[in-house]
């Protein structure tokens, strides 16, 4: 007996799948990951491993014992959350904090809303902000970079991030120009979280995603352009109070956020019009928090705030219906 398949049209498929998308993102995160290992040593690998393992395990446990639904950890989204969470952490953070952060990221940030696709906020950022508020000291004590292949032995154990250093300096009334010593930037003096340390590695990954059509180029470009526009304007008006815009663009977590977190499918608007509004919002909020807020870094808050607006943006930005043109 022939067992024919009955299904509604279409009978062919483009071949895209959730898994493929998720694993593309993981591949795209690899350059930054390898660079961070090079930069921070195996501490970076340790943090990332713990974070990924904790995220995947949390999702598995929730699926198995709370939701009792089909197991979805194979789709790779928990791995991405784990990597992104790790990328937002300093490399010397204790393991238990990472685990707490992962549980919050997956448990509260994602699974409590019904799992992949239903979460209104980026889970990795929920975890990160939770940790930032809960463990402020550990989250802002950055280890001094310790490149694997460098021969210099660095004495200091911790150092500031570039943006933190500038914020601190500006609040003490030091002119912006005096704060930046380009030799220091070149010499890997400034620190940061695991993932934000190399903008170039992030851009390489981002370009891969754009090429794979997983993300649109508009979102990151508009975010970066907005940040650049506002910071440049401020810098031109008053170069004493504001630093060179390039520091803002390449200095902090902007690239990571713009390419990997603002483009998260579930938490960004669906139409191009909406994406543009969202991106401008993220860029503007980021730079506002950075320039005038209490934190030196504003990316995660900006994305989370804009995430909350996504349902509204989706409702307001309907696609242009065919046949509804006003002549």
């Amino acid at each position: 007996m022939n067992n024919y398949l009955i299904s509604g049209s279409p009978h062919v498929h483009g071949g895209e799948s959730t898994k493929k998308i998720m694993y593309s993102v993981i591949i795209a995160l690899m350059p930054a990951y390898f660079f961070s290992i090079y930069y921070f040593g195996f501490d970076a690998a340790r943090v990332t491993f713990i974070s990924v393992a904790a995220c995947v395990l949390t999702e598995w446990l929730i699926q198995k014992f709370l939701i009792k639904g089909p197991c979805t950890i194979a789709d790779g989204s928990a791995i991405i959350t784990g990597i992104l969470l790790a990328f937002n952490l300093p490399s010397n953070i204790p393991a238990w904090m990472i685990i707490v952060g992962s549980i919050v990221a997956i448990g509260i940030g994602k699974m409590s809303f019904g799992g992949l696709g239903n979460n209104p906020f980026n889970p990795a950022l929920v975890g990160r902000v939770f940790m930032l508020i809960s463990f402020p000291v550990a989250m802002t004590t950055w280890p001094t970079p310790n490149p694997i292949f460098s021969n210099t032995v660095i004495d200091a154990v911790t150092g500031p991030t570039l943006l933190g250093h500038i914020k601190e300096g500006l609040s003490q009334g030091i002119a912006a120009n005096d704060l930046i010593i380009y030799e220091d930037i070149k010499g890997f003096i400034y620190s940061g979280s695991i993932g934000e340390i190399s903008s170039i590695a992030i851009i390489i990954g981002g370009l891969f995603l754009i090429f794979r059509k997983v993300i649109d180029w508009q979102t990151p470009v508009i975010i970066i352009a907005t940040v650049a526009a506002i910071s440049t304007t401020c810098w031109l008006i008053d170069p004493v109070q504001f630093v060179n815009p390039l520091i803002h663009i390449f200095g902090g977590g902007l690239m990571l956020g713009a390419f990997f977190m603002a483009t998260d499918m579930a938490t960004s608007p669906m139409t191009m019009k909406g994406k543009v509004i969202f991106s401008i919002g993220v860029g503007a909020l980021t730079i506002i928090i950075r320039l005038w807020g209490a934190y030196p870094e504003g990316m995660s808050f900006a994305i989370l705030i804009m995430n909350a607006f996504v349902p509204l943006i989706n409702k307001a930005c309907k696609p242009q219906r065919f046949g509804k043109l006003v002549k």
Binding site: M1, N3, Y4, L5, I6, S7, G8
Partner: protein, 291 residues
């Protein structure tokens, strides 16, 4: 430090108090006068909002009951499960004829065994859609599609798709006979029937109207419209609706002669005690059920 705490407490406390007073005044002023009977009637209903009565929920039904009782002094045209109706009538001081309790009956026995699947379906789990797409896995265009439109509509969790059988099965304890599933079924397989004495029912477990030869190919138990049961029935309880026999529950005396005579095994008798092997249906059983 203490000052801040103190002032906060004072300010918030006073604010809360003022707002509470305002809320109370407004609530009193705009109070909607409602017949308290409505609440009582609603409380006597099961509250499942199944929609079987045709109203938008139990509250709307309760309102209609109270209005009808007030205007016409009866509850004609208002239907809920018989037990609930008697409760409603008691609340309103009326009497209703004790209608026989009803139950949903899935009139298809096209299980995976009886009607082997020749095709398999991939797509949206909506019977109404699959119905437009193809005749069904076994080829029988009157068979249960097993995608559970009825399950989704049931407010009492009383109907489920049996995974092994591949058809909908009613949970007799939970079903109240509201009829929502019957309306949801795109093939009209589910019938609301009287529950029967001691839960015993005899009915044609098939709604097939296809020709005999084709039915034979599709399903082991499908009705072929041979009319043998019609001739056998001593109580004229069986009528032909097109080519399909239908057992009128009001006339049926549960003698089960039709069950024995049906060459296809389409007629089902449920909740009867197991029979003694090879003994004809004794008169005593008949008499018992008659009374």
């Amino acid at each position: 430090m203490n000052d801040i705490l103190f002032y906060s407490l004072i300010v918030l406390g006073v604010l809360g108090g003022i707002l509470a007073v305002i809320l109370y005044i407004v609530a009193q002023k705009f109070k909607v006068e409602e017949n308290p009977l409505i609440d009582e009637v609603e409380a006597s209903l099961s509250g499942a909002n199944c929609g079987g009565c045709g109203f938008a929920g139990c509250r709307a039904f309760a309102e209609a009951c109270v209005k009808s009782a007030h205007d016409k002094n009866n509850l004609s045209g208002l239907n809920c499960t018989s037990s609930d109706m008697s409760k409603v009538a008691a609340v309103l001081g009326l009497t209703v004829e004790a209608a026989e309790p009803t139950i949903a009956v899935v009139r298809c026995n096209g299980t995976c065994e009886n009607a082997p699947k020749k095709t398999h379906y991939e797509g949206a789990d909506i019977c109404a859609f699959a119905h437009t797409l193809y005749a069904g896995g076994s080829g029988c265009p009157n068979a249960c599609l097993g995608l559970g439109d009825c399950v989704k509509k049931c407010a009492f969790d009383a109907i489920h798709i049996d995974k092994e059988k591949g058809i909908a099965v009613v949970d007799e304890d939970k079903c109240v006979g509201c009829g929502t599933c019957s309306k949801a079924c795109p093939r009209g397989i589910i019938e609301i029937r009287p529950k029967g004495k001691n839960n015993r029912r005899v009915y044609v477990d098939c709604v097939n109207i296809e020709k005999g030869a084709i039915t034979m190919k599709n399903c082991k138990i499908g009705s072929i419209g041979c009319q043998k049961c019609l001739k056998e029935c001593p109580f004229e309880a069986i009528e032909m609706r097109g080519t399909l026999a239908y057992i009128n529950a009001d006339k049926c005396k549960l003698c089960r002669k039709c069950v024995d005579v049906c060459p296809r095994g389409s007629i089902l008798a449920v909740n009867f005690p197991p029979r003694k092997p090879k003994v004809e249906v004794t008169e005593s059983v008949n008499n018992e059920s008659k009374e």
